[in-house]
């Protein structure tokens, strides 16, 4: 029975990610007033967080594979392969953000809540793109440091993104909701 080993190896990291999620959750509770004032805002939150998690971890694990395939390394990081990956992640963020905004609006209407469609779509788009840019740069930074120290990026990007991804995304949603509320 290797139970003790398994608990010892995974428990600290899972608790650490949980502490990161508390920071994200606290940001959510700070947004109480915005959630009251902007119908539909709370609907988009799980979707944006899930989109960000999916796109960033896939980006991170593709960079890990590219490293193992010998396509990128510390001295040859900013090449065409990396740029294609960055464009792919950002285009996905853009498209999925629009889908989230439309779905949140339409399903709210069906449930007799009437959000402002322009507001909701703008909030998702700004939050999706900003968090996408920050997490893409963060991932590249982590992968670069992993190369330099001779670590396997596959072991680092996943947990790092699980911890910081939700925080960055939640703060981006908060920021873009405040911005849109002020502008529109």
């Amino acid at each position: 029975m290797y139970a003790k080993e398994m608990v010892k190896q995974s428990l600290p990291l899972i608790i650490f990610c949980g502490l990161g999620a508390i920071v994200a959750g606290s940001t959510l509770s700070v947004m109480s007033d915005l959630i009251r004032e902007i119908p539909g805002l709370i609907v988009i939150i799980p979707a944006i967080i899930a989109m960000r998690g999916n796109i960033s971890t896939a980006f991170g694990s593709r960079l890990g594979s590219a490293y193992h395939l010998g396509i990128i390394d510390a001295d040859n990081l900013w090449n065409e392969e990396l740029i294609q990956n960055i464009i792919g992640s950002l285009v996905l963020s853009f498209l999925v953000s629009i889908i989230i905004g439309i779905l949140a609006y339409v399903t709210s209407l069906l449930l007799h809540v009437v959000p402002n469609p322009i507001k909701i779509i703008c909030i998702v788009l700004i939050a999706g793109i900003i968090s996408g840019l920050i997490l893409t740069l963060l991932t590249i930074g982590i992968v670069y440091l992993a190369f330099k120290r001779g670590y396997d990026p596959d072991n680092i990007t996943g947990p790092a993104l699980a911890t910081f991804g939700d925080i960055v995304t939640m703060i981006s949603i908060f920021g873009s909701a405040v911005l849109i509320e002020v502008l529109l």
Binding site: A21, I22, S29, L95, M170
Partner: protein, 187 residues
Amino acid sequence: MIYSWKKIVKFSLPLLTLTIMIEIFAGQILQGKQESLLLLPMFLISIPVINSVGGNIGSVLGARIASGLHVGYISINLKDKEIHDNFFISLLIGFITYLILAIVIYFVALLGNLTEDIALIEFIAIFVLTGILLISTVAIVSVFTAFLSFKKGLDPDDMVAPIVTTFGDVMGILFLFLLFGLFGVGI
């Protein structure tokens, strides 16, 4: 060149869209219960935490089963001892994690002056029971997803994490409101 942005978008978009549709469903449950949640900020803080821990434990379990299936020390059999051990270890890790995080959240909320009419013990009970229900469900889904994808010749490593985290997000929110009902908390 190996990567092209068009291919990345084309291959990721369908599954991502499906995931988003399920997450919007989770979001609509939150909107329906919005008034309860806004009156109980401690639980608003808890939602990302419950879902993140559930998703992580489910994904770790799935990754371990996937490796076991690939290497051959786990067989596609619900009576497999490795599966049982892994299942109970996931529950144990979940219990310890949810317990510790419940205490942290309670005191973070107190520090933030988010005082509520709820005792520490009651909050811990709701939070940990939600967590245990979620981990049990997510672990079962994780095992079945790993088995099914392996049988169909798909790599369980690609399938388990997205399925388990998406499903876990909806179930985590549903279980939290179920426990609200049982404890008579909220509206």
